[in-house]
Symmetry: C2
Subunit: 284 residues, 2 copies
């Protein structure tokens, strides 16, 4: 993967679908390390109601990858976000990694606080922000908070809230195929097809930079594009009624694939001649 850090531009965002490998190849954690340039990594365990244990697991995994300056940032409540010692942990950090838990804890505890401001500054000056599970979801402008897994979307069955807004036009979901979350992501996209639905499998991540992302890890990233939808019942149907939505465009991406969010296209597009030949052939 090309070196992402450029002077004067925002740093990379690594959004992980949860369950990233911590003992084997650790493809995703290695990617995190690559962007630190030997600097400090802050593990933000804010998403967790009970942070004990999270930090230790990452400490082991990152130590073996050569990260020596690793610190934990936890805030029990908003008052603690003013604590100079907590804020000091972020000074000169090369990156922040948000662990899993409840995305609403991240947004409600650090939203519009000095902690969030420092995190944003790290991003602005080119530092790395990574997040797994809840830590990935929270990067959206409007984030998915809660919705049923393992069934189709029923009208009204979804909670969304303002996230940290680090990326626009993307709603992130995680543990995606493993927890059967297609239904709720279709539902989210139906609400406003401007937003691309991004479903990230476990042990899979997207590395986002300059409005494009690369996929890494063992599973898939699904991009649900509702821009061409010709009909949906989301605004008119009764609560509990199953969703109806025609002409969704969907991309199944895996390691090595890249996607341009502003163009809403996989960037490795087969050339036109070739793609036409493919269609003719399969339709023949």
């Amino acid at each position: 993967m090309a070196e992402h850090r450029k002077r004067g531009s925002k740093g990379p965002l690594i959004m992980i679908g949860g369950g990233e490998d911590k003992e084997g190849d650790r493809t995703i954690l290695r990617e995190v390390v690559k962007h630190l340039d030997g600097g400090r990594l802050v593990i933000a365990t804010v998403a967790s109601h009970e942070p004990e244990g999270y930090f230790e697991a990452y400490e082991r995994a990152f130590a073996e990858l050569g990260v020596t300056d690793l610190v934990e940032l936890y805030v029990k409540d908003r008052a603690e976000t003013l604590d100079p010692k907590k804020l000091g942990l972020l000074d000169s950090a090369a990156g922040v990694f948000f662990s899993g838990g409840d995305q609403l804890r991240i947004s409600s505890q650090i939203g519009d606080t000095p902690i969030e401001q420092r995190v944003r500054e790290i991003h602005e000056r080119g530092g790395l922000l990574a997040g797994t599970s809840a830590g990935a979801s929270v990067m959206s402008e409007t984030m998915l908070v809660k919705g049923t897994s393992g069934e189709s979307y029923k009208i009204g069955d979804l909670h969304m809230a303002p996230g940290l807004g680090l990326v626009r036009n993307m709603i992130i979901d995680q543990h995606f195929a493993e927890r059967g979350r297609f239904g709720r992501l279709f539902g989210a996209v139906a609400h406003n097809p401007r937003e691309l639905g991004i479903g990230i499998d476990e042990d899979t991540a997207l590395v986002f930079k300059d409005d494009c992302f690369d996929v890494i890890g063992s599973g898939c990233v699904y991009v649900v594009d509702g821009a061409g939808v010709t009909h949906s019942n989301i605004a008119e149907a009764e609560p509990e009624r199953a969703l109806s939505m025609f002409d969704v465009r969907l991309h199944v991406l895996s390691a090595g694939d890249t996607f341009d969010v502003s163009k809403r296209r996989p960037t490795e597009v087969p050339d036109v001649t070739k793609s036409h030949a493919i269609e003719t052939q399969t339709m023949g």
Copy 2:
């Protein structure tokens, strides 16, 4: 729904995603009854390794809906498909209902036997064929036999086999959102985008007739159309590698929606008045 039975044309096929309601509204079983015109319904429990109990559950459910002539057809092995008594059960049947279990048991036990021939004749002369779960999957020309649920598709991880071939260009999957089977259906479609992938939720069915179908029940039917796919790695990637497939078209259908298989299009372009009427009706 319009009366489907027409002189000289093939009968309707009702494909059910499993877990159809047997005690409440029984929307799907009522639809089955509607097509019998008071005639005999044969419950074919062939898909099951242990048929005990299946028939009794349907007997109760259908009795309360006014079906009086209900018989069970089970064959332990292929030799029994020649048994005149078994064959006699199908004489003058108005419909056959395949219960759930293992689709490979249906195809391997009755494929190319006099039983299958009788079933086909019932269909040809306008009678009803219905199937739930395995009984729905087996209606495909090439049927999905086995593949992992609850994860994305990995190259090579899918078993397909010749089904009864009652419908063409459709690969049927069931218990769809409930068991997280999106991944394997995308994989199936990637093999040959000529086939539409049809994923049917539990307590949901499609009523197929003259190459079109209507959706009934409480969940969704997903149509995965790979005709416009511009790239997939299915033929070239290593086994166990995650699928990559760009530009899939997907339709999320629910009760009241209809689909034209030959045109590969939802047939109801939204008409506000009508769609409202349908919703009112299905929502009771």
